[in-house]
């Protein structure tokens, strides 16, 4: 949770404009974007303790699952190259976005849904 009482969403991406798009889609959250660094993400998550995580690489997505499973952190994997969207929650990956691919609206819906599902503080 951010200082302003809004959910904190971390975006770790190799395509920086994705951070911009997620920020525009998540007006209910505080979005903090970070550059992808070869899949290593555990330290960042332990330091930041976000309410949700958005990533754009397979490596980072897989690298985040151990922390996500232990802390019930929803992870949204946006593959802009494959035009797919999936979410990791309750210990497994599920396709998301109703087949529309990674649109800002789909990302917003998936994250909002995941935060609500956790009983999180979406306002």
């Amino acid at each position: 949770m951010s200082e302003a009482g809004r959910p904190l969403v971390a975006v770790v991406c190799s395509v920086p404009l994705l951070g911009e798009a997620v920020e525009s889609a998540l007006d209910f959250a505080e979005v903090r974007a970070f550059a992808e660094r070869g899949g290593e993400i555990d330290g960042l998550l332990r330091w930041l303790m976000p309410d949700a995580l958005v990533v754009d690489s397979d490596r980072t997505a897989e690298g985040a699952t151990a922390y996500a499973a232990a802390h019930e952190l929803p992870v949204v994997h946006v593959s802009v190259r494959d035009r797919t969207l999936r979410v990791y929650r309750f210990g497994e990956w599920e396709d998301a976005g109703n087949g529309d691919g990674p649109t800002p609206e789909a990302i917003r819906n998936v994250i909002a849904g995941s935060l609500f599902a956790r009983g999180g503080p979406v306002r």
């Binding site: 190799s14 395509v15 920086p16 404009l17 994705l18 951070g19 911009e20 798009a21 920020e23 525009s24 889609a25 946006v78 802009v80 190259r81 035009r83 691919g101 990674p102 649109t103 800002p104 609206e105 990302i107």
Partner: protein
């Protein structure tokens, strides 16, 4: 102050949203969006943007064709962008009239800088893409020179060289062209002499440089030795 009108033509919502979010923070830009070339036509029906940022894979015919067609309608600066630019795509875009080529992994600050640079007459091309393009131009130059040199060969010698480049032995070439092995040997000697090449291997390399694989003369089927 007149704002710079930028048309973002990309079929991926997420890229359009990213650029929109970024540029809306800047007071000197105005954003238009298009998800396909049809949308580009609609957006430019009455007024042309200053800059068009066009996805290499813009539907339905791709960014290179879109650049060519947009140039017939507008004197807009066009920039193509893509995920994995290759020598061929960068060169094709620039030859089609694009003023620059950007990587989609560009930083937000880098994109803003590039767009402002275009207005001042700069051609946005990141360092790695500039070097890709120079390599592509060198390759093209080398191919043109090699093709010029190959003109000294007769059509039969070209056929023989094509098979040599495919790794065929004299016996196989003889069978494929229905000539004697002795004649093949004589053709190979003539080829090396005319092209001033030291070896059969060098001749094969030369042929691939000149004609690649896609434009080589119709290959004659080579039977196994």
């Amino acid at each position: 102050m007149r704002r710079t009108r930028i048309l973002v033509a990309d079929s991926l919502d997420i890229f359009r949203a990213g650029v929109r979010n970024l540029l809306e923070r800047e007071s000197d830009f105005e954003i238009l969006e298009a998800a396909s070339f049809e949308d580009v036509l609609a957006a430019t029906e009455h007024d042309c943007p200053d800059i068009a940022l066009i996805d290499l894979e813009l539907p339905p015919l791709g960014g290179v064709t879109a650049v060519q067609r947009l140039a017939k309608r507008c004197s807009t600066y066009t920039i193509v962008w893509s995920f994995e630019p290759s020598q061929e795509t960068v060169l094709a875009a620039v030859r089609s009239g694009a003023h620059g080529f950007l990587h989609k992994e560009i930083s937000p600050e880098g994109l803003v800088r590039a767009l402002r640079g275009v207005v001042q007459g700069e051609a946005p091309l990141s360092r790695d893409l500039a070097s890709l393009m120079i390599d592509a131009l060198h390759g093209l130059d080398e191919r043109t020179r090699a093709r010029d040199r190959a003109r000294v060969l007769s059509s039969r010698e070209r056929e023989v060289l094509d098979l040599v480049a495919q790794g065929a032995r004299n016996k196989q070439i003889a069978a494929a062209l229905t000539i004697s092995e002795f004649t093949v040997k004589r053709h190979v000697q003539n080829i090396l002499q005319k092209l001033e090449l030291p070896s059969r291997k060098a001749a094969a390399t030369f042929y691939r440089t000149a004609f690649g694989t896609e434009e080589a003369p119709a290959a004659v089927a080579v039977q196994p030795a």
